[in-house]
């Protein structure tokens, strides 16, 4: 049989556990437990809002649709900035290893304020105007993004390895940081490679 000392110990332990249960709700209001991993998501979906059917072979004056999405898991309200950039194969791209953005000037931008665990998605339509082919180069005059004509004046050289004139439309994610007071590249980008093609002409 248990001795009186052991019984006392068990009794005191039970009372202490009960006390903690009673105090727990008040403690939870004062003590903030550390959250999980903090991160942001950035995604790009095709015209059917799925990770497929992305535009690839593009022609002048034809409209294409993609969906850009952003998710906040940073634990609070965040101020995001998404830059839209357009480049050919030789121009600067974001570097995930070094965490640096492309040095190209943005063509457009989106500013989004998102609370924790909130997501934002936007339908983006684009088309090209003034695509001209001249030997081994393709010149693109304008990109029409969400109905706004943006002058790009881009030249894409013929890529003999993959047979195409390639350009990339990409989106960089920047996050506002109050400490240095400015937007900083958040080391996330998504993009699609586009092959500039000549519209098929029916021979008469």
């Amino acid at each position: 049989m248990m001795s009186i000392g052991d019984l006392k110990l068990v009794y005191v332990a039970s009372v202490v556990v009960l006390s903690l249960i009673i105090v727990a709700p008040t403690l939870m209001m004062v003590v903030t437990l550390p959250g999980g991993e903090r991160f942001s998501e950035l995604w790009l979906l095709g015209q059917n809002r799925m990770a497929e059917d992305y535009p690839f072979n593009v022609k002048a004056n034809e409209t294409y649709t993609v969906y850009l999405g952003l998710g906040n898991h940073m634990g609070g309200l965040e101020n995001y900035l998404v830059y839209v950039k357009f480049r050919n194969q030789t121009e600067s791209s974001p570097d995930s290893m070094n965490g640096t953005s492309s040095v190209l000037e943005p063509l457009s931008e989106y500013r989004v304020f998102l609370g924790d665990s909130e997501v934002w998605e936007k339908e983006i339509t684009f088309s090209f105007e003034g695509i001209a082919f001249d030997g081994n180069v393709c010149k693109i005059s304008n990109l029409v993004l969400d109905g706004l004509v943006l002058n790009v004046d881009k030249v894409a050289a013929w890529d003999s390895a993959t047979n195409g004139f390639y350009c990339q439309l990409f989106f960089e994610l920047w996050l506002y940081n109050a400490a240095p007071s400015g937007f900083q590249y958040h080391n996330r980008f998504v993009g699609i490679w586009l092959n500039m093609t000549i519209p098929f002409q029916n021979p008469k």
Binding site: M1, I4, L7, K8, Y11, V15, L18, S19, I22, V23, P25, T26, M29, V30, G76, L77, N79, L81, E105, P106, L107, S108, E109, Y110, R111, V112, F113, G115, L148, V149, L150, N151, Y176, A178, S181
Partner: protein
Amino acid sequence: MSFATKSFVKLAVSAIIVFLALALTFSYSAHAYTSDEATSKIAEADSKILQAFSAVTDATEAGANVSSLALRLNEAGGLLAEANVVFRIGDYDNATLLAEQSISLVDGVVQEAGSFKTMAESERLSRLGWAALLASVGLSLLFVVSLFGWRFVKNRYFKSVLEMKPEEVAGN
């Protein structure tokens, strides 16, 4: 002064007033903004939005529900982004107008966020006070009950010990 002269003067004055009003209206609507004006307006909008964002963040951290303010911030941010885009293509008039719209949208957000924060903090304090009070009452009750409980447990223990029969051990 003859009646004809009076009428002529009245007509002339009216014509001048109408002309001035029209001139003012046209000069106002035809005013083209310069790059510097647009830049300054965009910078002002940017600064106002950041101030509003900071205030809303503080309110969020205090536990306030800021969904309505976040919505306004998003709308203002969208307009500012548009202003930046049209500025880049040289449309300074629209850039300025969009920046102005953005400023008017965030107007008052800082004050509202401040009052939301104050409300949230006082609610939190009140909840904390109630929780602390309930915890104190609970702990006091537990203390009293545990003292009586210990007596009861101890008595039962001794009773069961006393009721135990001595074991007989067979001798050699």
